[in-house]
Each structure stands twice: as C-alpha cells, then as structure tokens.
C-alpha cells in the first residue's frame, strides 16, 4: 500500500520533469481537449477521426470486419518478418529452411502456422468485408472512391497470398504457381512478356522464387500500407462510417 503510494508519487514527479514533457506533450487524456489531442496529435492515430458516431461502434454495424482485416495484416507482417530471419529465397535452401522452421527452430512451427492461418483468414475477411460493405450500401456517395481503393486492396491481398504460396517450394507451391502463371500467359498481347518479367525467365526456378519473395515481402506490403492509409483517411474525410438505419437492415 505504502509502496504503491510511493510509486505513484515518483511517477507524478517523473511526469513533471522537463524531459518527460518534451516527449509526451499532451498530458493525461481526461478532458475532451486532451482526448482530441490523443487522436489528432498522434502520428499514426490521426488517420482516424476525433469523434465517431455511436451507432457505428456496435458490433452488428460493421462486425469490425475492416478492423479485423487490418489487424490480420499486422499479425502477418510481424510473423512474416520473424519467418524471414530463417528463410533463404534460393532453390535448394527454401525447402530446407521450411523443414528447419518446423522441426528445429524454437516455436518455428507455431509462427509458420500462425502466418499461414492469418493469411487464409485475411483473404476470407477482406471478401466478407467487401460483401458486407456492399450490402449496407457503404459505397454510396460520398464514399465511392473508397470502394475503389478497397477493390485495389482486395487485389493486393490476393496477390500477396499468391506470391507467398510459392515460397515453401514444395509440390503444392510449385504446381499451383505453374497453373497460375500459365493463365497469365493467356492474356492477349501482354501476357507472355508479363509472365517473363514475373518469373525472371521462362521457367519457374531460381529467378522466379527470388522475384516472388521480393514482391511478397517488399513491393506488395508497401502498396498495401499505402492503400490502407488512404482507405482509412478517406473514411474520415468523407464523413465517417456508413451505418444503415435499422429498418433497412438485411441480416
């Protein structure tokens, strides 16, 4: 009891120091002003609006599907970066590293399972999110362009999942990508050149693995982050989440 009071007093002292106040500018978020600043003055949070409509906070309004998609992306990024520490994107090594992760590395099998599970879940979540936004009319003016950004995010998600699928370099991966890249080859005019660029050659080999790795770990995540930021920003700027009136609800 006395210790708790002592700690509290020291903390209060710390918070009064110049050093503390140089890092944490706003003070505790207990007034509406400081609560606004908690959002508005924060580098990552200021993409969210300072106020939200109470109706949009209910579970049945959005089922938090958009948030879930975003959080799955965060989980995938964290697990993905950790998996990168043991994975070499080279033809004999890749499969060996997968075995390494599963049987040798501490908690490797768990991280790999988490990564793959979150990937499947994210594909389901973004589709479900899209269908739910459609059914509640969230694409209607003034949110039209945000819907288009969302379709872009859907394509980036599918492409991320597809490029990641090759990385284990097992039979499942190799032949799934064979079929997929041959379909791309059927696009008129540009199909074969795009396939050549994507694979870095004519066959699925060393170059293809490396390119898919760079796409999966750098190019597509950057595109995803940019689109996600735009997607959140547009919600704020276009007037907040769309919530259907109760009498219009479908489900």
């Amino acid at each position: 009891m006395a210790t708790a009071a002592w700690v509290q007093q020291r903390m209060a002292q710390l918070r009064g120091t110049r050093m503390w106040r140089s890092i944490f500018r706003r003070g505790p978020a207990r007034t509406n002003r400081t609560r606004s600043l908690a959002i508005f003055g924060n580098l990552s949070l200021h993409v969210l609006p300072v106020k939200v409509r109470e109706k949009s906070l209910g579970v049945r309004a959005t089922y938090y599907l958009g948030s879930i998609s975003f959080f799955l992306f965060v989980v995938l990024s964290v697990t993905g970066i950790l998996l990168m520490l043991y994975y070499h994107p080279a033809v004999p090594d890749a499969y060996r590293d997968m075995k390494d992760l599963i049987y040798v590395v501490s908690n490797g099998v768990f991280l790999r399972n988490l990564h793959r599970l979150a990937a499947q879940a994210m594909v389901i979540a973004v589709f479900w999110h899209m269908f739910h936004v459609f059914y509640r009319g969230g694409y209607k003016p003034p949110h039209e362009f945000n819907w288009v950004i969302g379709v872009g995010l859907l394509l980036v998600t599918l492409f991320l999942s597809y490029t990641g699928y090759l990385l284990p370099w097992d039979q499942l991966a190799f032949w799934a990508i064979t079929v997929g890249t041959n379909i791309i080859g059927y696009v008129p005019l540009l199909g074969r050149p795009i396939r050549f660029l994507l694979l870095g050659g004519h066959i699925i080999g060393q170059n293809a693995l490396l390119r898919f790795y760079v796409l999966h770990c750098v190019i597509l995540p950057l595109a995803a982050v940019a689109l996600i930021a735009m997607h959140f920003w547009r919600i704020q700027k276009d007037g907040g989440l769309t919530v259907r009136d109760d009498h219009e609800r479908d489900e």
Binding site: V52, E54, I68, F71, P141, L154, T242, V243, R244, D245
Partner: protein, 232 residues
Amino acid sequence: MSETNKYQVGFGSDATKDPRRIVFITRKTSAKVKGEAGPQLMSYPHLILREAIVFQVLTIVLVAVALFWDAPLEQLANPLLTPNPAKAPWYFLGLQELLHYFPPIVAGVLIPTLVVLGLVVVPYFKINIQGEPLWSGNWRRRARILIGVLIALFVLLAVYHAWTVLVPTVLVTALALLPYLKPSSSVRFMKFLRSRTLPWWVMTWFIAAALTLTIVGTFFRGPGWSWVWAWS
C-alpha cells in the same frame, strides 16, 4: 424548388476563430445514404478501446487455432512430376473449376477482368445508389430485359456444360421470381424477398456462383479433375 432551398446557412466549423465565419452551403444534389445523424463519442477512448479488444480477441483465436492446426508441407518441388490433381490455393479453386468448362482465355482472363471491372464501377451507377426493389416501379420493362439476359446466360452455360454455375444461377433466379408469383404473401421471408433491389440480386447471384465453384473445386474434384463425391 424555390430559391431559398438552394443554400443552407451555417457557422464555420472552427469555433476558436474570432470573428466566427458564416458559410453558405449549396444543397448537395447527389444521393446520400440515410442514417447519418446520431450522437457522437470521442474516438479516444470509445473507438480505440473497442479496437484494442477486437485485436486481442482476434489474437487469442488465431493463437489457439495455430497451436493445433499445422500448415501443410508436401515433398520438395519437382518440376518433372505433376501431382494428380494439381490444385491452386483454395481462393483460386473456383477459378480452376471454371477453367474446366471454358477456354483459358475466357475463364482465366476475361471473366476475372470483368468481375474486377464490375466491382470497381459499382458506386458509379445510379441503380446501385437508388434503393428501388426489383419488383416495384417500372418492373415489367426491367423484367423483360432481365429475362432476356437470363435466357442468354442459361443457353451459354448449358452449351459449355457449366453445371456448377448453372445450378446456383437457377436457384437464385427462382428465389428472385418468388415475389412475382406470390405478390400478396405476408410471410416475413416473402416480404424480405420482395424488397430486394436488383444490385442485391446480382451480388447474391455472384456470391452463390463463386461459393459453389469454390466448394466443388475444393471437395468434389479428384485426379484428372474428375468428379468425386466429397464423402467417399
């Protein structure tokens, strides 16, 4: 509409500025979705706390499943040996099933392009903004066009033997026709069907077809892409 309805008058939103600004807001002419009014709450703490809870629940569920469900790893990739069957990831299996019926340039390029384009233009067509039910208003003309399109679709699907797409199409069409056959029924389900808009029916058809294709591709296709019963 009289002149006085063209503008709304209000105060500028920045309350700290002195003097306050008066703004004239032109009446917006585009349709807006209803239900925008209502009490507002501070994002911190109300939204942030809820998002934190969602994240924690999600993490718990993911970790619990990941502890027990192992991701698969087959043998080393062998470019000389194609496994039988060779299946794409599950979210592309619907497409692979479609490839079984139509030539690759149709099922692999044309249809996905049309789907993506169709999705992108959704907010820019007036019919998706108005909430008019399918069987109200000028439904006779709409029905005639719809029947024409549906007959062409049925013929196309039958010619290509695309049963996996034909069956859900027929089912959804039957559901859509139900309000026409029973216009005065007061059963809640019938009232629900009667109030559905055309975009609603098109999206429901798309989801039904895509789901059927994916389920068939995942569980009902075996070696050589031959039909197998999922439970055998």
